[in-house]
């Protein structure tokens, strides 16, 4: 039997935060929520408080100087989590403005102690702690000792078995502040501004005793409150690809045969081609074929004018609920947000086929601050999706360059398991389309450049243009009969 203490972890009620914290909030911990004005500190505190407080586990919310309590109540009740019935029952607000204004830290501490003793809260919030600090810097109380105050407060709250949050405006995390040392947890909120875009980010700089997820995690504040986009968990027991390979039908006649029998299940496929080459049609057919076999699908559309409205098949699938449309027009997306959206739709529908149309639009939808890391982002998305067990088809706009053979403008072709390339060629004053399967990992596939055309039924793949050569240069020439030894 273990004699080690068991630290209970509280579910914060903030979507994604428990994951980032490494399994929830340690009970009786002494935490600091810090960040510049407007970054969501008070909202985060309220959301956790309303989720955690119960009549048996009441909360005290001390308001100090700063935002007037009337304003705070006025604005916080706009959020869905705010429940008026909890006030004065499981949640009690206590104003310490007068005590703080006087500037005597001992008196502030005495007030906090007496209220804590009177109400025996399990949760204590002090908003804003920064003003306590500022008020302490007065000439009238030369004996004010902030480190001692913090130390005593921390000790008191822990012995009273209260999980505590100090909320404060701090602008630099490198300040040598006694609070940073005493606190068990440091939750730092930021607003990252680049060009005209703003992205909210959260960092758990410290959380004693548990494996937090390092790095900056994006979050949004909506009417439902804060939602943190934790990175998709890396599932260690990833199911090995079953042998023999199961293959998915693409829904385009002859394409399965070109792929060596269909797209292996769980593969990622890049369809690269110039504008108008039929990438989106191929993607819609892929989903429709899945739906025909009872497989649900998810499509993420990042175009300014999503062409799902122009594709009747896809529109029908979306209407019937067999395909879920992720059409996030939210500005300044982060990769984790998109992955969360996709994964939640995948698990909702138990979907097996996913389409990203297109990577170019996806790049534009990302906040500028993430664009520099686009390859890493893409890699994480592909990994997260294929680990979820789905097969992914991504389209990529490819400017036709006849001088080189490229599959994506991002140098990301290596990320995908399979690649189909589409091109235009000029033959006898006509613009013809050809496509080829460039790669199918661990599988034999066709190496032919096949001509295809698009009609009302989708892509129709024809034969090789055997009498032409130099197709990839865009201007093929007819092979001279003399070249054939027939």
């Amino acid at each position: 039997m273990s004699t080690k203490v068991t630290i209970n972890r509280l579910a914060t009620g903030v979507p994604g935060l428990d994951e980032v914290l490494g399994g929830g909030l340690p009970e009786f911990s002494f935490n600091l929520i810090a960040g510049p004005p407007g970054c969501g500190k008070t909202t985060l505190a309220h959301q956790m408080m309303f989720a955690l407080a119960t009549p048996e586990r009441p909360a005290l919310f001390f308001t100090v100087l700063g935002e007037p309590p009337l304003k705070m109540l006025r604005y916080q009740q706009q959020f869905d989590f705010f429940d008026s019935d909890a006030i004065n029952q499981s949640i009690r607000y206590i104003n310490l403005a007068d005590d703080t204004l006087a500037g005597d830290l001992d008196e502030v501490l005495r007030r906090i102690v007496s209220e804590v003793e009177a109400h025996a809260p399990s949760l204590v919030f002090v908003d804003s702690f920064r003003s306590v600090v500022l008020a302490s810097q007065t000439q009238h109380y030369p004996n004010n000792n902030l480190p001692q105050f913090v130390q005593q407060l921390g000790m008191l709250m822990t012995t009273w078995q209260a999980t505590t949050f100090l909320i404060g405006e701090y602008f630099t995390e490198t300040d040598t502040n006694p609070i940073f040392t005493v606190a068990d947890g440091l939750i730092w909120l930021r607003q990252s501004v680049e060009r005209n875009s703003m992205v909210r980010k959260m960092e758990i700089m410290k959380m004693r005793g548990q494996p937090t997820l390092p790095g900056l995690h994006t979050f949004r504040i909506a009417s439902s409150g804060i939602r943190v986009f934790a990175p998709a968990p890396l599932n260690p027991d990833e199911t090995p690809r079953s042998l023999p390979m199961q293959r998915l039908k693409m829904g385009v006649p002859r394409l399965d045969e070109m792929l060596g029998g269909g797209l292996p299940r769980g593969y990622s496929l890049l369809v690269a081609g110039p504008s108008g080459s039929g990438k989106s049609i191929l993607a819609a057919t892929f989903l429709a074929e899945g739906a025909r076999n009872g497989e649900a699908g998810v499509i993420a559309v990042f175009e300014q004018r999503p062409n799902h409205s122009q594709n009747a098949t896809l529109a029908d699938l979306i209407r019937s609920g067999q395909v879920s449309l992720v059409d996030s027009r939210a500005p300044d997306l982060s990769i984790d947000e998109i992955v969360q959206l996709l994964l939640s739709e995948i698990s909702r529908l138990n979907a097996t086929r996913v389409v990203i149309d297109s990577l170019s639009g996806f790049e534009l939808a990302l906040a500028p601050t993430f664009r520099a890391d686009f390859r890493e982002s893409l890699s994480r998305m592909v990994t997260a999706l294929t680990r979820a067990g789905v097969s992914v088809l991504m389209t990529s706009e490819l400017e036709d360059r006849y001088t080189d053979l490229r599959f994506s403008p991002y140098g990301t072709a290596f990320l995908t398991d399979a690649i189909i390339v589409q091109r235009y060629i000029e033959v006898r004053s006509r613009l013809l389309r050809i496509m080829a399967v460039v790669k199918v990992r661990a599988s034999a596939h066709c190496d032919e450049l096949r001509q295809y055309h698009i009609n009302d039924d989708g892509l129709q793949i024809g034969e090789m243009l055997a009498d032409q050569e130099g197709l990839l240069g865009g201007r093929p020439t007819t092979q001279r009969t003399g070249d054939h030894n027939d």
């Binding site: 308001t63 007037p68 309590p69 009337l70 006025r74 009740q77 607000y93 403005a97």
Partner: protein, 144 residues
């Protein structure tokens, strides 16, 4: 705003209840200030002493601008805009005027708070003022 007029009726009824059968000016002034004191007691822990004083001053101002006959009273209360100052001014009025002033002031205070923090939270914070007899723990919260 049917809910608010419902609250107004409640406030007026509560005031009448506190005044009781004796309609002397001292009783009326005492009832009005005791209700204000209870409101203060309910709100001060949450919004602070200064927040309560500011709300009372604004309520006095709004009451006087809405009812010309209260303007004179308002001017005199302005000198010491707290409960004792208010009580002193009330004692100088006729019973009917003082009662009217009390009703207007209390409903205005309530409405003002409603515009700031919404009807449900206002009702939540002040319900013990109107229903002192019901302030005991409701039965559903006795369950363990």
């Amino acid at each position: 705003m049917s809910t608010l007029s419902e609250e107004s009726r409640q406030i007026v009824a509560s005031l009448a209840h506190r005044v009781g059968p004796s309609v002397d000016i001292a009783g009326i002034a005492e009832a009005i200030t005791s209700i204000l004191q209870d409101m203060d007691a309910a709100l001060t822990p949450i919004i602070g002493q200064q927040g309560c004083v500011a709300l009372l001053r604004r309520s006095l101002h709004l009451s006087a601008s809405a009812h010309a006959r209260l303007a004179g009273m308002h001017d005199r209360v302005q000198a010491t805009p707290d409960r004792s100052g208010l009580k002193a001014v009330l004692l100088e009025q006729t019973e009917a005027d003082a009662l009217f002033f009390g009703e207007v002031l209390l409903t205005t205070f309530y409405t003002l708070l409603t515009t700031l923090i919404g009807p449900s939270l206002t009702a939540r914070l002040l319900r013990d003022v109107w229903e002192p007899s019901l302030s005991d723990t409701p039965s559903q919260e006795n369950s363990p």
